[in-house]
Structure formats: C-alpha cells, structure tokens
Symmetry: C2
C-alpha cells in the first residue's frame, strides 16, 4: 500500500504537536510535526516506542535521563517507561509503536 502523508489528515495530538498516522495490525507509524518550544508532558504507555528524529532538535527525557536529540538520533522507549520532551526548534519526528496505538487509530 502506497501512502502519501501529504494526503493524510493531520491529527492534533496536543498543542504544538500534529501527526500523520499509519496503523497496521502490528504497528503504528506517526509522522509528527512539532513547533519550537512546545512541551510533551511526562506520560507512559504499554507500547514500545522508537522515536526517530528527522529534522530539528528535540530534548527528550526517558526514565529521568535527558538528552538533546537531532537528525539521525533514535530513542528507544520500552513499554511502560515514563518519558517527556520539549521541541528546541521546529521538528519532524517519525515515531514507531508496537503494538499499534488503538487509542489513536480511533481518531483518524
């Protein structure tokens, strides 16, 4: 299946965060755009998450450890692990989840 994310509806995740989402039976892939300065409050979920920074600088905190991530950096967040963040600049991020995010599938 060929998908142009340009043609997908952007879902507002929270203020400053929008996503184009692909959900399969096994995975969710989210192409996330973040505006500079907007925080991602601490949260956790049972899904494993792999965050791929494509553009920009994003400060990420996982289990109390904080790093500034940039293009080419990857953050592996095991399930049920508290994480939070903040966009230092505008960012493009590709987040991968297993199992898929059924909570988001309902949105779009």
């Amino acid at each position: 299946m060929f998908i142009k994310t340009d043609h997908l509806m952007a879902v507002n995740l929270l203020e400053g965060y929008t996503a184009k989402m692909i959900h399969t039976d096994q995975l969710s892939v989210m192409h996330v755009s973040v505006k500079a300065g907007y925080p991602l409050p601490e949260h956790q979920h049972p899904h494993e998450q792999i965050t791929n920074i494509v553009e920009g600088q994003f400060e990420m905190t996982v289990n109390g450890e904080t790093k500034i991530c940039q293009a080419g950096d990857v953050v592996v967040i095991p399930g049920n692990t508290p994480h939070s963040g903040k966009a230092i600049t505008d960012c493009k991020i590709i987040d991968v989840f297993n199992p898929p995010r059924e909570d988001y599938r309902k949105l779009g």
Copy 2:
C-alpha cells in the same frame, strides 16, 4: 536508550545500500542510505515492513504495482509480499520491521 546512528557501524546490505540498524525484542528500525541508480532486487520476507522515504526519490514495486516515492511517502509491505525497487536519486529511508530481522541482527 539514546542512540546516535552516526556512531553505529554501517552495514552493507547490498551494492549501493548501507544501513544503521536498531533491533529490539519487537522491532527492527533501519536507517538506510541508498546511492542513485542502485536496484533492490525482488525479494520477500515474513516480516511486515513499513518504508518511510526521508530524502530522495525511490521507485518501489510492491506486488506488481510500481510508484515513485519521495520524502513523506510511506509504503506498507505486508509479510510475504514480493517487493523491489530502484533509487532514482540518492535516498535516505527509514525501514521498520515487525517482528525484528534476526537475520540482520546477527550482522551487527
């Protein structure tokens, strides 16, 4: 876990294709660099694959359907589905696999 793909060893997948790989218990994420003109011969595997084009133009054929993909395009390839491709330009691609690619995990 914070990973700088710049610090990972690049694995040669085939001529013109190198990858920085992250493998977890559930997923493989591969940051693939492709040189213009190099073909990806038709193959298949039981793993579901989600291909995210980050830079460049890549001609992809899945189950006999061919499209030229570019930044922002996503290709969902179900398990056991024949696929092939060719880099039109130099490309950066993020490939996601579930389950993880144990065949590649052995390589590094």
